[in-house]
Amino acid sequence: MDLKFNRVYPVILFTILIISLILSLAGIIYNFIDPGYSMYIMNLGVLVLYIAPFASISSIFIKGVYNRDYTLIGLSIILLIIIGLNMVQLGLPSL
């Protein structure tokens, strides 16, 4: 499972980064056509980047479930709760 995880996890992270990168680039290019709409696209790029840590923690959670490693499961849930509560307190993201 560890070998599989070491292969799958980087792919998940890389995909998120690439999507965020493409949206950011599209936002910059669109800035010349419609600055208002380009802000919307760039905002989307930023929000996609914020998904990266959640994807990391969720991947580790799944790894914990597969390996029946209850410490990993517990820790990832605690971390998700801490981040989630702070985000709710600050206000959830919106476009």
Binding site: L17, S24, M42, N43, K63
Partner: protein, 255 residues
């Protein structure tokens, strides 16, 4: 606007290249260059720096995860307090005046510059059983690593790696990999506070993300091929010059 976008891209790209080459985050270069060089207010510079660090650290995490150099369990344990520190640090930063932030950043740069020039290396502790006392010390000190990250817009690896190597006795390579994994989560947490407070300039965010990601990719490849000793020394001296400029600017003395 276009000149600002290009300026931010150049600053963040070059900082990420240099930072990745010598194995530190680019935050120590990004914030001074954005404030002193481009005249961006320090709060906005910190927000942009943290955003680009998410891209830099995630990019590094991909490399370390593929090689199996990340201790996920330890990373998650330490991250519980680091994230709290980052949220707290970012909230404090919003309340602080630019001059106080400039002076604080300048003082931290003196330490970083000195470490670069002297090249302090940590002796790896012999692998021993991780006691509860040492783990507690690591968890508590991680809070301060997160606090400095959220407060000053840095990754915090300069504190996280010594904590793992010296206090917890983790091998340096694993400590660096785990630290990069942690930084990607810490910087996102800190950055979110700035995003919600409206301090993150979305128009410049795109160039920060692209510059950070591309710079980290190039820097990590160059770092393997080039002897980085001289670059490290130059980096250290630049840090010391920046520290003086930031402290003087913070005290209201413009040079």
């Amino acid at each position: 606007m276009l000149s600002e976008i290009i300026g931010v891209f150049i600053v963040i790209f070059s900082s990420a290249v240099l930072g990745s080459m010598i194995g530190v985050g680019g935050g120590f270069l990004i914030v001074p260059l954005l404030t002193l060089g481009l005249g961006i207010p320090i709060h906005n510079a910190i927000a942009l720096s943290l955003l680009s660090i998410i891209a830099v650290a995630s990019s590094a995490t991909i490399t370390y995860a593929s090689s199996g150099y990340i201790d996920y369990k330890l990373g998650l344990i330490l991250e519980t307090t680091t994230v709290l520190g980052a949220f707290t640090g970012a909230r404090i930063c919003i309340l602080l005046s630019p001059s106080i932030l400039m002076i604080t950043f300048g003082v931290l740069l003196i330490y970083v510059g000195y470490r670069m020039i002297k090249k302090i290396e940590f002796k790896e502790a012999k692998l021993r059983e991780l006691s509860l006392n040492r783990l507690s010390a690591g968890i508590i000190s991680s809070f301060f690593a997160g606090l400095s990250s959220g407060l000053l817009g840095i990754g915090g690896g300069i504190l996280k790696v010594p904590i793992m190597v010296l206090i917890l006795g983790i091998p340096t390579r694993v400590a660096i990999g785990t630290s990069e994994f942690m930084i990607s989560i810490t910087s996102a947490s800190g950055s979110y506070v700035y995003y919600k407070a409206g301090i993150l300039n979305t128009a410049l965010a795109g160039s920060a993300i692209i510059g950070g990601f591309l710079g980290a990719q190039l820097g990590s490849r160059l770092g393997i091929k080039i002897r980085v000793e001289l670059i490290r020394m130059i980096f250290g001296f630049i840090m010391l010059i920046f520290s003086m400029s930031m402290i003087l600017r913070g005290l209201g003395i413009w040079i």
